[in-house]
């Protein structure tokens, strides 16, 4: 079984340097390095940190030879256009693993996977039905989808700056279940991406990192897991039963359609196509409805304020709520400093301490 010395020797070989030059580069005394490599001396925690820093590996890898699943997946993906998204996923994933070490494990609650036969789309719809049952049991409102996914399933859901034209990703490891979506001004697209990533997590599609740079990309959509995640998202956000109840038997006016668009917080075109797929509207009506813009639908439904609020929320960075809660709990219980919590919410730790320790007396805020 390879030892720490074996792994340091591997780094030495990879560097192409002489042992003396390698020792200089990592800042160790040459004779100490030599003794440690021969097993006559242990590497100290500082030695390990300096070797890790100089060679861009982690201390964990030096100690165990195991690379965190997320780091490995990120390295393998090698996709530079996803770099910002992957870096953010690694940051939040590491924070989740770190807080788990203190006993705050992610409260992930998957649903029972339905029978795994039939078309990909059918499997996605069955999974959505199970997920909607959970939403109903947990009595959560899907209006705030990130909060609902956290409360009903225990996933961490974050909204961040993921670089231009990057929809989202999901991370699934033993300790991490993370949905990360890009900040943007189209809340319906962001909601669809969150639901799509939730579909991947609940279907246990990938271990590690799953990138969905563009959920509407046609080539990407051809993959069976993507078809299933899309079917899940459509059925989860636009449940058939709710659509049938809304349409009823007395026809479906543009105002009622617009109201349903706002109620479900989906795009007019997505809802029009879904209604058509159930033959609840005909193709001419579908064409007419899908030509509506989000603003027109909101205006028609008298819900422009809701649209404005949704657009603002979609454009805001959102740290993962459960992770922030757990990191704060670790601080409040005295098990950690305030820094991990400050890292999760991207705040300056001293400013945060000032705010938390501020006098809450009668003075002005």
């Amino acid at each position: 079984m390879p030892t720490i010395s074996d792994r340091v020797r591997e780094l030495l070989a990879r560097s192409g340097m002489s042992q003396r030059h390698f020792a200089e580069r990592v800042g160790l005394d040459s004779s100490k390095l030599s003794k440690s490599l021969s097993g006559a001396r242990r590497f100290s925690s500082l030695d390990l940190a300096r070797i890790a820093e100089a060679t861009q590996v982690t201390v964990d890898w030096l100690l165990t030879g195991d690379e965190p699943a997320l780091a490995l997946a990120a390295r393998i993906s090698g996709d530079t256009s996803s770099a910002a998204a992957i870096a953010e996923a690694k940051r939040l994933g590491a924070a989740r693993e770190d807080v788990a070490f203190l006993g705050y494990r992610q409260p992930w609650r998957p649903v029972r996977r339905p029978v795994q036969d039939g078309l990909d789309t059918t499997r996605g719809e069955r999974l959505a039905a199970a997920a909607l049952d959970r939403v109903s049991e947990a009595d959560v409102d899907l209006g705030d989808l990130p909060a609902a996914a956290e409360e009903a399933f225990g996933a961490d859901v974050a909204i961040g700056d993921l670089g231009p034209r990057f929809d989202g990703l999901s991370v699934a490891t033993a300790e991490i279940k993370l949905i990360l979506v890009g900040r943007g001004v189209a809340p319906w697209r962001q909601r669809f991406t969150i639901a799509h990533e939730l579909g991947h997590l609940l279907a246990r599609d990938d271990q590690g990192l799953h990138l969905d740079q563009d959920v509407e990309d046609r080539q990407h959509q051809r993959q069976p897991t993507e078809r299933r995640a899309n079917a899940f998202a459509a059925a989860f956000l636009m449940p058939e039963r709710q659509l049938r109840a809304a349409v009823g038997s007395s026809g479906f006016t543009p105002e009622a359609f617009a109201d349903l668009v706002c109620e479900l917080r989906v795009s007019p075109s997505a809802l029009a196509f879904r209604l058509l797929s159930f033959r609840l509207i005909d193709s001419m009506t579908c064409d007419r409805f899908k030509a509506l813009s989000a603003r027109q639908a909101a205006e028609l439904a008298g819900r422009l304020e809701q649209l404005a609020a949704d657009v603002a929320a979609a454009n805001r960075v959102r740290p993962p709520g459960l992770l922030a809660r757990d990191a704060y709990a670790a601080y409040a219980s005295g098990q950690a400093t305030l820094r991990p919590y400050a890292n999760v919410i991207n705040a300056d730790v001293d400013a945060l301490m000032d705010a938390l320790e501020a006098d809450t007396g009668d003075g002005p805020p």
């Binding site: 242990r42 500082l46 940190a49 820093e53 100690l63 780091a71 590491a94 770190d98 890292n343």
Partner: protein
Amino acid sequence: MSSAIFCDTTVLCNFAAIKRVDLLELILRGRGRWTQAVAYEVEQSRGHLPDLARVLAGGWLGEPIEVAQDDTEAWQIERIRRSVFGGLADQPTKHLGEAETTFLIKNGPEFRSAWWVTDDRAALAYGRAQDLITLETVDLITDAVAMADLTQESAFELLVQMQAHGRFVRLPGKSADLSR
């Protein structure tokens, strides 16, 4: 009387900033100790605080202590560095001094009654929550007044000077507060 006093790098820098490392040596009275990572942090800070060379050369903090006795302890220290102090995996030396020191005080029987001195507010709050004897530079200065190494006025002036050098030390309202 404490058996050992572990000063965080922030504290050593405070005294180096006002060129009074000699005073810190006097206050510690041979009780000062440090870990390897703290000694490394001091070495790294020497560029902008040249007086730290006197800490490194003086020998009055003893030989830097190699904390981890085996790979399991090294693993635990890395977990503490990240989970407790918010260090990142790709910055492995950051907060290592704090992780090593708190691990040593909590796990080394000979250091159970040791003091930990830090002016990092987040670390200070953690140390106190963990029931470690956790002090600040102002406490060392107050001790110096009690031991008649400094007058209240000169002690207060030193803290003012530290702040003037951009150091984050807590300053009492008036010099008279620097008494026990």
